[in-house]
Symmetry: C2
Subunit: 212 residues, 2 copies
Amino acid sequence: MFKENDFEKIVLGRQSVRHFDPSRKISHEELLQMLNEAVQAPSACNLQSWKFVVVDSPEGREKLHGYFMPFNYPQVDTASAILLVFGNTKSWKKYEDLWNGMLKAGKVSQEARDAAVGTFLPLYKNADQQMLLADALVDAALVSMQFMLVARAHGYDTNAMAGYDSAKAAAAFDLDPTQFVPVMAIAIGKGDPSETIPDTTRYRAEELTDFA
Amino acid sequence: MFKENDFEKIVLGRQSVRHFDPSRKISHEELLQMLNEAVQAPSACNLQSWKFVVVDSPEGREKLHGYFMPFNYPQVDTASAILLVFGNTKSWKKYEDLWNGMLKAGKVSQEARDAAVGTFLPLYKNADQQMLLADALVDAALVSMQFMLVARAHGYDTNAMAGYDSAKAAAAFDLDPTQFVPVMAIAIGKGDPSETIPDTTRYRAEELTDFA
């Protein structure tokens, strides 16, 4: 099914690529397929608080120039597509329908449906904006990480970008900024093999971990 | 290197497991190895705004009972370990040292070091708490997703948990709550094969994606 199925190569070989082959196109069908694989990621209460905009037209890239840092123009201009990942702070509004659908399809028990809708939905209905925002950021980051790995299984490279003007991100693509919060943008394409990729260092887990 | 190296099985076969084999131990060495693989995940400006507490003692589990939802006690009580993932809102304080170290080791050019320290560090120094919090949540969620997949490559199952009393999470493990924000907890262990895992549904990418 996957072009590359070697977990070690995919995960430990991933690097942030900034220069792509601009002649390489990725079909919308394949982009949707990668997204359908990425959304198998978990989310808080299965709320799936994510939303996607795929930019691959010249007009769409021009919009990105309006609020991205010039530092990131090489990716915006050469990637096959730029995936904009947003968190959805109102995902809970569809939650009851989702669980009723799973119950009807025989995928979950009445008990599981009642626990989800009875226990968790009220928490979201009464949540403050800060909690909804945090949940949306975390869900959308989980799906973003899985997308970057799935992209490599499809034979592509990626670069995760932040640092754009986040106040402009949703409105630039006609999304309601009170509902959708920008989480990151992911350039995807075939890396230009002549690019020298910096070998960035990670802090060792030994320095970052307490046992209790 | 990995016990299971089939990307498709690892990623598309992942499910949230709630009942683990309580007799199964995972060594601290292996937990640190999994974390060192997980931290190969990308982060905003390579700031790596993450911090870990691994709970596997009876005393540690007792602390979790103090602020987790009873709904999640089965995982807390039966998992080999519970990884608490925190975001670090002050990761930028080590940023100059990190890039100077990479320069000294010949891993990055003077130009790349100067761009990182000259362009990005001031953004963090002047950032408001909201931006630092969002960055920490996103970085820590990226490493969490990669950890859940790496765990499967090591032959384990996981369950990501939220919904605990986040105001208590840092202090319960002697971390400074003004620096460390709880992002999620991940139970890890060998799933109990007798557990029936609900087959939860995902929204289709076609419903969630705009092209631009």
